[in-house]
């Protein structure tokens, strides 16, 4: 087993933990963190799996991950703005369940 595959497996674990947190938490900030963990795990799998298959550095998945990180930052920033707005209006840090 090579370094690349070990980290791909590590990424698989991170994905599982992220999904676990995503389902477990109501709290919006925690949920966002869980989403980021899931994203990091995905990136690790993308690079780790590809490089273990190539047996060396593969620049394409690395570039894809760079793109992915920027997209994740944009999504996180938008989510945070929405969370702020929601907390500001409702004084709550989770979505209330009642249906109008």
């Amino acid at each position: 087993m090579n370094t690349y595959l070990i980290f791909a497996l590590g990424g698989a674990g991170l994905c599982g933990i992220g999904l676990f947190g995503f389902i477990l938490h109501d709290d919006l900030l925690r949920r966002l963190i869980a989403f980021n963990l899931l994203g990091s795990g995905t990136f690790l799998i993308l690079v780790g799996l590809a490089q273990s298959g190539r047996g060396g550095v593969d620049a394409v998945p690395q570039a894809l991950v760079l793109t992915g990180i920027v997209v994740a930052v944009a999504a996180t920033a938008l989510t945070l703005m929405l969370i702020r707005r929601w907390t500001q209006l409702s004084q709550q840090s989770h979505l209330t369940e009642e249906d109008e």
């Binding site: 994905c15 709290d27 690079v47 780790g48 920033a77 938008l78 929405l82």
Partner: protein
């Protein structure tokens, strides 16, 4: 061995982040996790991603998260229903197991994209393969990605119907003389670092995104010291600065169509220069976009106060 340790560290930090009852502590662990991930990327021979992870994934995200946390109400500890815990554990475990099972049976890849990339690298105008992929081979992805960043900014601004007058924006946060003095010393250093990262991107790890993140960090520090950028220049100028990278990219991309080429084809003699030009504008714009995302987020708290 060290790899296994790193993986165990990642997993335990991730679990701690999710399970610790104190939200501030969760964020600190999350930032620690980001630093550990940086090391992991180095181990994976991906210094570019390590830089981006440290600057964007951990730095900027961490600042945004911490800044939001201050506004969140402190609430009681989580009390989660038992069936929900069961489902969370069940789906997390099954995802991990399924992924690991599949990863261990990975077949050989039929298409040798990495060799194609090496063969074509000379034609791209830069010698660093990742920059070549990002700004030449798959530049369309990068174009849309800058669009996503801009979009987050526009969507955030759409949350407020009225535009804010300038006075509200200029908020001195930390009147600390030592901070101001050291900032005067170190701002040139940060700008130099950003320029270096940008310039280095053509032949070694670095590039517009990492440089943009450093630039954004410099802007944010200035803002926190009370040197609010958005109070110095007009809102309109800031808007233009935010857009200039994307617009220039779009113009260069479509200018090739005048010569009968397809979109995003650089003339081969000028490819390197054009890429540098685009990266320069992108760095500036990314720095401003990330900074505006921060101030937009920041001023929402002021409004509520």
């Amino acid at each position: 061995m060290i790899d296994l340790l790193l993986v165990c560290g990642l997993w335990s930090l991730a679990l701690t982040t999710l399970l610790t009852p104190n939200a501030f502590r969760a964020l600190v662990f999350f930032i620690l996790l980001g630093l550990l991930l940086t090391l992991v990327w180095i181990r994976l021979d991906a210094p570019d991603i390590a830089l981006a992870e440290a600057a964007l994934g951990t730095g900027i995200t961490g600042v945004l998260l911490l800044d939001t946390l201050k506004q969140q109400p402190q609430h009681a500890l989580l009390c989660v229903h038992r069936t929900r815990i069961f489902w969370a554990v069940f789906s997390g475990l099954s995802l991990t197991l399924a992924l690991s099972w599949a990863l261990l049976q990975a077949p050989a890849m039929p298409i040798a994209l990495d060799q194609t990339l090496t063969a074509q690298l000379d034609a791209s105008g830069v010698s660093h393969p990742i920059t070549a992929v990002l700004l030449n081979f798959r530049a369309y992805d990068t174009l849309l990605e800058i669009g996503v960043l801009l979009l987050a900014l526009f969507a955030g601004q759409g949350l407020h119907e009225r535009q804010h007058p300038l006075e509200q924006l200029s908020g001195a946060q930390l009147h600390n003389p030592f901070l101001r003095a050291s900032l005067a010393l170190w701002l040139p250093g940060m700008l130099l670092l950003a320029t270096y990262l940008l310039w280095a991107g053509a032949h070694q790890p670095g590039g517009a995104f990492q440089a943009g993140a450093v630039l954004a960090a410099a802007f944010i520090l200035m803002h926190l010291c009370g040197l609010a950028l958005d109070a110095q220049v007009s809102q309109h100028l800031l808007r233009i600065g935010v857009l200039v990278g994307f617009v220039l990219f779009l113009v260069v991309a479509s200018s090739s169509m005048l010569a009968g080429q397809t979109l995003l084809t650089y003339p081969s003699a000028w490819a390197g220069e054009l890429i540098l030009l685009i990266e320069l504008a992108l760095t500036f714009s990314i720095g401003l976009i990330l900074f505006s995302l921060f101030t937009l987020n920041h001023q929402m708290r002021k409004e509520s106060a």
